[in-house]
């Protein structure tokens, strides 16, 4: 029996993720307090808005220790989306905020003198790592002004090009995250999401 928890905070787009999960014939619950993720087999952290606001919301909800327990120790499959990828790193230049630090590295801004910022639209992602979630080169929808620079290149799952290559997805153990909005990337995004939801659950 799966229990999919979608973390819901005011600035996030949890409803869009819910719509996509329903389309894939899975059921999920909104997690708004730490107890909502206890017993979850899969955890999704959607994200729009800024790194600072997201970290603040997670802190106010008291969600961080519960997430670390479930994901880092319990090895529950975790999917971060957009800002949900960025907050996994040590630090984000957006709002100059310390983040979760599950992955080493920083989140930096695109060079606005070279390209339009935010990057908004469909970009081609090349996957560079095999993961239990199957993927193939495809187009996904991005909305981001910032992107992650992992210390350890081996966590890079996929790359895309916007004034040079940038990190489009990361994967390490049970942690998956996409800079693009998988829930808004048409059938390519739904396929990726489905692969994640079909991972053998934790908890």
């Amino acid at each position: 029996m799966t229990k999919i928890a979608v973390i819901d905070y005011k600035a996030g787009n949890a409803p869009s993720v819910m719509h996509a999960v329903s389309r894939l014939k899975h059921e999920a619950v909104f997690a708004r307090a730490p107890e909502d993720i206890s017993g979850a087999t899969h955890i999704i952290l959607p994200g729009v808005g800024s790194a600072g606001a997201t970290m603040q919301s997670l802190g106010e909800m008291g969600m961080i220790p519960a997430l670390e327990e479930a994901v880092l120790r319990g090895k529950t499959p975790f999917l971060g989306i957009c800002v949900g990828l960025q907050v996994l790193f040590d630090h984000s230049d957006e709002d100059d905020v310390d983040c979760l630090g599950w992955l080493g590295g920083r989140v930096v801004k695109f060079d606005g003198s070279k390209v339009r910022v935010p990057q908004m639209g469909w970009n081609q992602v090349k996957f560079t790592q095999k993961a239990h979630v199957n993927t193939q080169e495809d187009y996904f929808y991005f909305v981001n002004s910032y992107h992650a620079k992992p210390e350890d290149e081996s966590v890079v799952w996929g790359r895309a090009d916007y004034n040079g290559a940038f990190t489009a997805a990361v994967h390490k153990d049970n942690i998956y995250a996409t800079q693009f909005h998988a829930e808004k990337s048409g059938e390519a995004g739904l396929a990726l999401l489905n692969g994640f939801l079909n991972l053998k659950g934790g908890a």
């Binding site: 600035a11 819910m18 719509h19 729009v48 808005g49 935010p118 639209g121 048409g186 059938e187």
Partner: protein, 262 residues
């Protein structure tokens, strides 16, 4: 590489997609959910939904229809019409919209742009504006509001620069002169806007042939183009499937998201 986007635009009245010419004379096309399904299956890149009578009727956006559409399309979905404060925006986002579009309300209360950007992130706030060629304006274009009925005396280029400073994440320019004419986008307007702001730009108003898309994408920095008549207006001699438009653009050197087969 980032691709150019084709956006289907729905003007909604009572849950129905309608089609107007120069903001008037709306005819009904199809129920919003039904047309949303079709557009998604055709692999349109994005969807924009305007509740065009909300402001005039002094009510907020039609949440029921927003929800219905959001549950059917898994592509970016922007909604606008009648959003006057953060609560209205939040309701629309909660219903499953990705971005909110502000237009007349933002002219009346520019702070709504800053408030929305702060609460939900800049990427969430689209500044949409209706503009008309007007002699005497510094840029040659004036901002109109309320379904293109009311002139504001504001210069269009100055307004979008201000919108960028206030925190908008994207700008949509609707040419009142070209809307519904099927004669092509206002290229001069998009060039002016492209050098005035660094945000992603959406062109709207005037598309009638695939060539118009090619022109706006190759001659200006426009990143996304709104099409509606070409896709579904019964007034057109023929409609264009998304596939045909994308294949045409790709053949003409425009980088678009290719059709996903199977």
């Amino acid at each position: 590489m980032l691709t150019k986007r084709l956006i289907a635009c729905f003007d909604i009245v009572n849950g129905m997609v309608t089609k107007a010419v120069r903001f008037q004379d709306n005819i009904r096309v199809a129920p919003a959910g039904e047309l949303a399904n079709t557009m998604y299956e055709e692999q349109i890149d994005e969807l924009i939904f305007y509740d065009i009578t909300a402001s005039a009727e002094k009510r907020s956006i039609d949440i029921k229809t927003v929800k219905d559409v959001a549950g059917r399309v898994f592509i970016p979905f922007t909604v606008g019409g009648g959003l006057k404060d953060l609560d209205d925006m939040y309701e629309a986002l909660k219903a499953g919209a990705e971005k909110v579009s502000v237009d007349s309300m933002a002219v009346r209360n520019p702070q709504i742009i800053a408030d929305g950007a702060k609460a939900f992130g800049s990427q969430c706030v689209v500044l949409s504006t209706q503009v008309k060629r007007t002699a005497g304006m510094p840029s040659g274009y004036e901002v109109y509001i309320d379904g293109a009925r009311t002139a504001t005396g504001m210069d269009a280029v100055e307004w979008i620069k201000r919108g960028q400073d206030l925190g908008a994440g994207e700008v949509c320019l609707n040419s009142i002169d070209n809307d519904g004419t099927l004669g092509g986008y206002d290229i001069e307007l998009m060039k002016l806007a492209g050098s005035a702001v660094s945000l992603p730009l959406i062109a709207s108003g005037g598309a009638g042939k695939p060539e118009h898309l090619k022109t706006v994408f190759t001659e200006t920095e426009t990143q996304a183009a709104i099409i509606s008549s070409m896709l579904y207006s019964p007034r057109m001699e023929r409609n264009y499937p998304v596939r045909e438009l994308k294949e045409y653009l790709a053949e003409n050197g425009v980088n678009v998201r290719p059709m996903r087969e199977g």
